[in-house]
Homo-oligomer: 310 residues x 4
Amino acid sequence: MTTHHFEPTHYFTAIGSHEPVLRIAPGDTVITTTVDARGQDVNSQAITPPGNPMTGPFYVEGAEPGDTLVVHLDKLTPSRTYGWTAKMLAPNVVDPEYVPQLPWHPEEPRGPAKWHVDAEAWTATLLEPETKLGKLTLPLNPMVGCFGVAPDKGQAISTATSAEHGGNMDYNGFVQGVTVYFPVFAPGALFHIGDGHARQGDGEIVGTGIEISFDVQFTVELRKGKRIGWPRGENEEYIFTCGNARPLDQCVQHATTEMSKWLQEEYGLDARGAHILMGQTVKYDLGNIFDPAFTMVCKMPKNVLPSPTV
Amino acid sequence: MTTHHFEPTHYFTAIGSHEPVLRIAPGDTVITTTVDARGQDVNSQAITPPGNPMTGPFYVEGAEPGDTLVVHLDKLTPSRTYGWTAKMLAPNVVDPEYVPQLPWHPEEPRGPAKWHVDAEAWTATLLEPETKLGKLTLPLNPMVGCFGVAPDKGQAISTATSAEHGGNMDYNGFVQGVTVYFPVFAPGALFHIGDGHARQGDGEIVGTGIEISFDVQFTVELRKGKRIGWPRGENEEYIFTCGNARPLDQCVQHATTEMSKWLQEEYGLDARGAHILMGQTVKYDLGNIFDPAFTMVCKMPKNVLPSPTV
Amino acid sequence: MTTHHFEPTHYFTAIGSHEPVLRIAPGDTVITTTVDARGQDVNSQAITPPGNPMTGPFYVEGAEPGDTLVVHLDKLTPSRTYGWTAKMLAPNVVDPEYVPQLPWHPEEPRGPAKWHVDAEAWTATLLEPETKLGKLTLPLNPMVGCFGVAPDKGQAISTATSAEHGGNMDYNGFVQGVTVYFPVFAPGALFHIGDGHARQGDGEIVGTGIEISFDVQFTVELRKGKRIGWPRGENEEYIFTCGNARPLDQCVQHATTEMSKWLQEEYGLDARGAHILMGQTVKYDLGNIFDPAFTMVCKMPKNVLPSPTV
Amino acid sequence: MTTHHFEPTHYFTAIGSHEPVLRIAPGDTVITTTVDARGQDVNSQAITPPGNPMTGPFYVEGAEPGDTLVVHLDKLTPSRTYGWTAKMLAPNVVDPEYVPQLPWHPEEPRGPAKWHVDAEAWTATLLEPETKLGKLTLPLNPMVGCFGVAPDKGQAISTATSAEHGGNMDYNGFVQGVTVYFPVFAPGALFHIGDGHARQGDGEIVGTGIEISFDVQFTVELRKGKRIGWPRGENEEYIFTCGNARPLDQCVQHATTEMSKWLQEEYGLDARGAHILMGQTVKYDLGNIFDPAFTMVCKMPKNVLPSPTV
């Protein structure tokens, strides 16, 4: 049960079987940092090329294809006061004929909207541009935009997108206190993490959350021989499954199938019981509808579930 | 401000420009009843063919194409104790290759799962079939599955599906206390209502909520000359817009476009401000992913919005 | 075997159970006319409101729900020289971020592109606007954009869209000489026809073919008790099935399922044989990707099929 | 203008920036071989793991990101007589509720359908299983299922799928005589090729063509500084563009956008002219609707195009 303090020196914009930056054991905790989506660090300096640069990969001793990597998100804290967001709805989230009416405004100053993030006060305040919103202050909800493990077949998949291995899911439910389960495809699992958001609306419909650098602490465990199909997660209230694909319909199919299996594998339910229960109690969250692969999350409230059998 | 007590004698399974059953004025309240999705009434007797039979249509004096019909859902109460649900996830909500593993079980007794609905105790309890769920009791959340106004062009649209005129949206947010706005396409608006659910999970992924007959009370108002594109709604916490289409991506496009317009039309926001705000605060709910047209709902928390200007 | 000469006096922009304009018997032939998509007749006069106005409905004696209506497209001839098309790709057929780069050109004269259609020379020539295309002359391929039968449940469905009953499929394979099969949902089938195109590219990606009025001749037959799921068709080279839905993936699902059934029902194939054959010989055409429901067509070459058993 | 005879010793199942197996110059020709989708060679021996193993990558001297790699498919010849196909429609290409009716038949012998491929007679004949098809003989149409160049950002993308870099497009138009254009993302372009099919229906709806090993000859050229967005191609009759994504609608968007750009960049057309022309003359082919990313192809007949200006 070692606690590692790890300071990254380089970053990756594809999640794959890169040379590990650190070897850790199940039960270990890592305290480290992440840069923002454009590669800007705690001092708002661009220290690596943009595109959701990842801290890692961390090699987890003993992890092999067919296992499940368990990641506890112990702490996720914005590490600076400067946050930024995009300023316009993504063209793909509005009706095609409405796209020309989006505020393209080429005459406006370029660059993102700027926010002051106050981790003490737990608020983000819009600084610019000036709009009819006036002074807008929102509560924080720090979340991880992109994290996951090396995919199978020696693939290296861009941190712009997501798949069975996790990746850029941009789901605002990946917050401190959550436990996440990833299917292991490569020896050592090779865990990557980055792309912190101080908060984000559902769907990441402007293409960003409030992008910021993070101080991160996580703890890993391993479930040997436990094979799952898609990232799963758990918080105090819900268990949940993630489906990453396009269109959203297919995300729902992946997440729902994974939940149906989970309830039968680990909660002692028969198919009939699981389906009747899901039908009347399931919840869905929209992770993102911006990235090349979208994300839908299927959630089951723990208070309607039998006790887990595993 | 008349209160009408209306007892239906016949029902429609397409929403269209049928002969009105009652003429009411803006400000009027209607107290009436609805049968369940299979046409079963308060006594669980099938009194009309199945397929979401509608009570109505109600002709609202003065309503003309280009207006908005306002419907307050004053009371939605299950009117009997027998509720029923389907027992299997719909094939379209799981991965195609998982479909054969659904519990088709041809040897099992046919017919729906049966629930005891106790409107006093505010609970629904699963009676049969027997499963590993054991005795499952869930809180009620009575909602309208299908309601809306006559569509344009003299169309009559099946109550199996939904579109700009509303219809079978199967959204579990359409509960007592909510106000709903429909675009008016035909003289008198011609409001239809039915398909009550004692509760329902997101997505209506087994194809039903807990289907039941309802006692219903609603009050109508009219916004003359106010043109909207899709059904809108409002509760204490949120304003929301509905997009009805396939795939879910297109639902999101419709609902998001409608919200972007609403914020600029009635909340004094410029496009830039509306987009920045939506990006970091929007929520989405999945209405249904079962009917021919799916439904996604775009919600904005009232506590981040300026005061309405209209 | 009567030949009816029918001159329409009114038109419908929804396909439904309207009062029939003529009663005909199986084996009968109808010679009639259709107006163009904007309701313009042989003299280019707008005689009825726009939106694919339909000639009909024709009541076919003896047709009942569960039968199949057979329609032979005997003659489809443009009846005037003026044709028109839209001038810009539809926003939904290009990448969302490319939409602002479409030639919206508000400064240009409004109105459609104009074509001279010469049914003798079998050509259409672009008259205006002036573009770098210069003088463009294309061969004709006259086709029916919208036709079908009354849908079930008393529905009336806009001629802007399509479904199991046919409708606005905008498929450039519906040409003279083709036989089309429609499922019958209402007594008399209630056949409607209109929306002639002098030619059209795949997908109707600008939202129109070369729109024009038609002289039409068709002959109907009835297959009693033959139940089909989607419109089917046949020409010299292929049998084909139509799937109308969104997204295109679902169109493919409908059309492919219908073809799989057809081969097993009427060509003496077992499922295994039908699937192996389809896998290596099937063709797909894109009908339209513009209307509310899209259309994909699944085709099987007759020269690889066994003789029909029916 | 060297002709290289290259004998592969190892294969890749992800297309990426692997160590090149050969360096070639623009203008050079390569004569080589490919194994089938399961890694079986000319002797039907499995010599490498399955999953569309690629021959290559070939490093093209001088190729840099922002260039276009031109590949002439000079010769594509099945190199053995044994071909195999899958035997059942893929679950995702039929209606979800039809999936249980597919011929899963667990009691049948496992394994693929077997075909005798006669490259002299230019035929493929079904050997087993026995079905009501009897003896089925089809003409050959040898095509490349999977080929492309290393993607950007250091990605390595599974040969099960496709994207801007090409990959597993499974389009039956990629036959001998065709010229293909790929955007270059990595130094040397790093061209990979494999997954030969003796023939294939549209859509690869059973998940395979007639899978077989190939003798391959191709010639490369380079267009320096020519930036394209998606794979393009050309045969005697058409120019065409490929869109690889999900759902098919998005494939159409990519392919159509790319064609609109091409016509304006290289055929001297203004946007207005290009759009009017595309609307009435475009064709679409369905590449595959089986792989994780689907493929639609947008084709323009050369005989309606002005002469290329480039």
